[in-house]
Symmetry: C2
Subunit: 465 residues, 2 copies
């Protein structure tokens, strides 16, 4: 792809568009925005721009569209698929100055928020008003809500509350051609032509730049109970997952962790956890609600299910600290694994009853290709994150053979009715696996949609397809 | 728009594509498929085709795409926006032979179903397995699940369970160019490129023909309680709606009905109902769950809220018959009104706290234009159906001035943060109001998406925009 390099003259135009104080070309800035959380990848932008309002972004995009300069939007930089990497240089568009919670509307249980608000800050702000915004990815302490929209984010509570897709009512966006539109309406229902709001969600900043977000909110539950079940093997824990739902139980979170993942966390973090010899797999199960009796009844029911799958031990977290520790164990797992080894993360998702086949398949593929793996994730949704670890694999094999191994993993997820990403997105690093899941016809439809929104291909080029 | 008329030769090709027994050109067939439930509109197809498999549809669409013949897909024919009317003649594609429930997967709580299955039949089939598919529009006894997908349907339980958008996981579709693809994966999460499944939902058969539907299912509650609150005036009843949610209560249905609507039902149907003099507006409120105590607690809480809004009477439906009667009263309201007068139905939706402003505005606009209106609908979602009744309006004014009145209604919904259809869709009859809500830029994006899927514009032409 051919793009225009940013000359001094173009830089002056960009400064005039967004204000000179919001344009950065110093080495440190270019360095800071050259990477996200995806492996060790680095791509340097030519300029970092931090606009303060939609009009500034509109003016910026008009210049870039006219001169064919690539623009890569960026949220909190916590992405795991490389969607925020400026692989063709050009403008890195940081949304960090869009950090206002504009309105928490307690009459309608809605909020209007800017995309640069940190997800956890938003959750806490609505929580203070007794309301819940249940989309909380593991990176909630640093990711932006705009990035969550771009990736169709999930998190542990999807299993009860649904993904971000069910909470985004309306978006203000700037089109690559510089127009500003609202994609929908601030309503719970919408049957008024093609749903551009849903089209934006998960489009990874390739169609438009989100500048305002209207979310649905729900009442916050007053109680929650967290329990951790230990199992002799992965397969048993994974098989218990669909059995729980078949029993008519809907937890507010249902996470799977392999023993190896827990071991890495214990090494990395200072969490106190008594890891027993026969505990090879874990299910972290949370219930929430307003009535403790109902919650305890659910806990009893789930206990009976777990027993059927040889659960050897159930730990109830009975203090806020213990709950926080268990959740931290789950949330820091990726970081812990990453700290110890060269690794690659995949984000498989299948119908939940297929989890035992998925995890067995992953291990079998790993044994053939010589990589180790640590699996964990949102088992209640059939969503398993796989940390592939280089381990004994040679540099040569890691470089040349891993792709074939990952292709096999995705062929397996696809054969099981699943897909190649549940919540991390495609971005840069999963792009090469898209043909495993999609026909050329299907990909052409996506490319066609891209061209409708972004005829000159300036917005986050080189991502998804 | 210029389309090719179906010659004898083309008819032979169509017969060869789908089988001669599935092609109808007799007067009765053309007549039967010339209308849906939209006002008294009639448009005659040149041929009615009832294919039996996706391959037949693919072959049919290839012929029509090559020769530029319009194809209008049709479900149960219960639509209220005229989306299934073959306004350019051509092929009326009835999906009525796609009537298999292919699989109810109790392991994964999913089902695979053909689009011609009647919604209520599907609800009953999964219900027998203890599962719930909560999307039940008022026409559930005759509408098809495929039509529900095409319109992004809702129904009374959206307020707790969400619209059909949250239950459709994956779709097999035939593109206008004749290719068959699956739009997504059978998973609860999906972040693998643009979400074509969501793109299809609510696209009213203008992008592709749906041939298989994979739905999410949830556990069915064992208990429900239905109550009817009476209010002295519309505004009070409407104001109570958002107060209920603010109190942290989430009913499984929350419907509004005007007194006039109830009067028309009593005239039309044989429902026994003691309509008191001071009851001018009603809220029909349902709770469901597995625990009756919890449900009763919610009923008590809601009672306290209703009192604040001068609710004069609360009726608890204590038998299955009484529940059924109250629901029938709500469900037959459109039909009852229609049986008595020339009318037009609009499907407004706003943030729910704006309901009092919406209903007062509708009445005020009506008084200026001389039309009466009966309002009812899914108040919990801010979704109000308006039956506009000709009443004393002259034929001349009904023909010439009504459009301006409806435009004012939609300007009001838009100003209140809402839109011009919550669940009935745009189809033919709301098309002229799209510019009230959307800019030309926005409409051009929709037209661009249409062109990506259907370059020759053969699929359901003349609808939405």
């Amino acid at each position: 792809m051919e793009y225009t390099k940013i000359t001094e003259d173009l830089l002056s135009q960009i400064k005039a568009a967004v204000g000179p104080a919001n344009v950065f070309t110093d080495k440190e800035s270019l360095d800071n925005y050259s990477h996200d959380e995806t492996e060790d990848l680095r791509y340097y932008p030519e300029v970092v721009v931090k606009p303060t309002d939609p009009e500034g972004i509109a003016a910026l995009l008009k210049i870039c569209n006219q001169h064919h300069i690539p623009v890569t939007p960026r949220g909190g930089g916590t992405g795991l698929s490389g969607a925020a990497l400026p692989i063709y240089g050009g403008v890195l568009l940081s949304m960090e100055k869009f950090k206002d919670i504009i309105d928490i509307d307690t009459e309608n249980l809605q909020a209007t928020v800017e995309p640069g608000v940190i997800t956890e800050a938003f959750i806490n702000a609505v929580g203070e008003k007794g309301l819940l915004y249940p989309v909380d990815p593991s990176s909630k302490g640093s990711c932006f809500i705009g990035g969550n929209v771009a990736h169709g984010s999930g998190g542990p509570r999807v299993v009860k509350y649904g993904t971000i897709r069910e909470y985004i009512l309306n978006l203000e966006v700037v089109l690559p051609t510089g127009e500003i539109i609202w994609t929908g309406a601030n309503t719970l229902k919408y049957a008024s032509g093609y749903n551009l709001t849903q089209m934006m969600i998960g489009s990874e900043g390739t169609l438009a730049v989100v500048t305002k977000i209207v979310t649905k909110l729900i009442p916050k539950s007053s109680h929650s109970v967290l329990m951790l079940g230990s199992f002799p093997e992965n397969e048993k824990a994974c098989a218990a997952v669909s059995a729980i739902f078949r029993a008519g139980i809907t937890p507010s979170a249902l996470e799977f962790m392999e023993r190896k993942g827990v071991e890495w966390v214990i090494k990395f973090d200072d969490i106190k956890f008594d890891l027993k010899d026969d505990a090879n797999a874990f299910l972290l199960i949370e219930f929430d609600g307003d009535d403790l009796d109902t919650i305890f009844k659910d806990c009893e029911k789930v206990n009976m299910v777990l027993e059927e799958f040889d659960c050897s031990d159930v730990l109830f977290a009975d203090s806020a600290q213990q709950k926080e520790d268990l959740w931290r164990m789950r949330r820091t797992m990726a970081e812990s694994v990453k700290s110890n080894s060269v690794y690659k993360e995949e984000d498989t998702v299948v119908p939940r009853a297929a989890l035992p086949k998925l995890i067995n398949g992953i291990k079998e593929i790993g044994s053939r290709y010589g990589f180790e793996s640590v699996c964990y994730g949102h088992a209640g949704d059939g969503n398993l994150h796989i940390n592939i670890i280089k381990a004994g694999m040679s540099d040569e094999d890691w470089k040349n053979k891993l792709k074939a191994g990952i292709t096999e993993v995705f062929e397996l997820t696809t054969a099981l009715g699943g897909t190649i990403s549940g919540e991390h997105g495609i971005g840069l690093v999963q792009k090469e696996f898209m043909p495993v899941k999609y026909s050329e016809i299907h990909l052409d439809l996506m490319r066609g949609i891209k061209k409708v929104f972004d005829p000159n291909g300036i917005l986050n080029p080189g991502k998804i397809f």
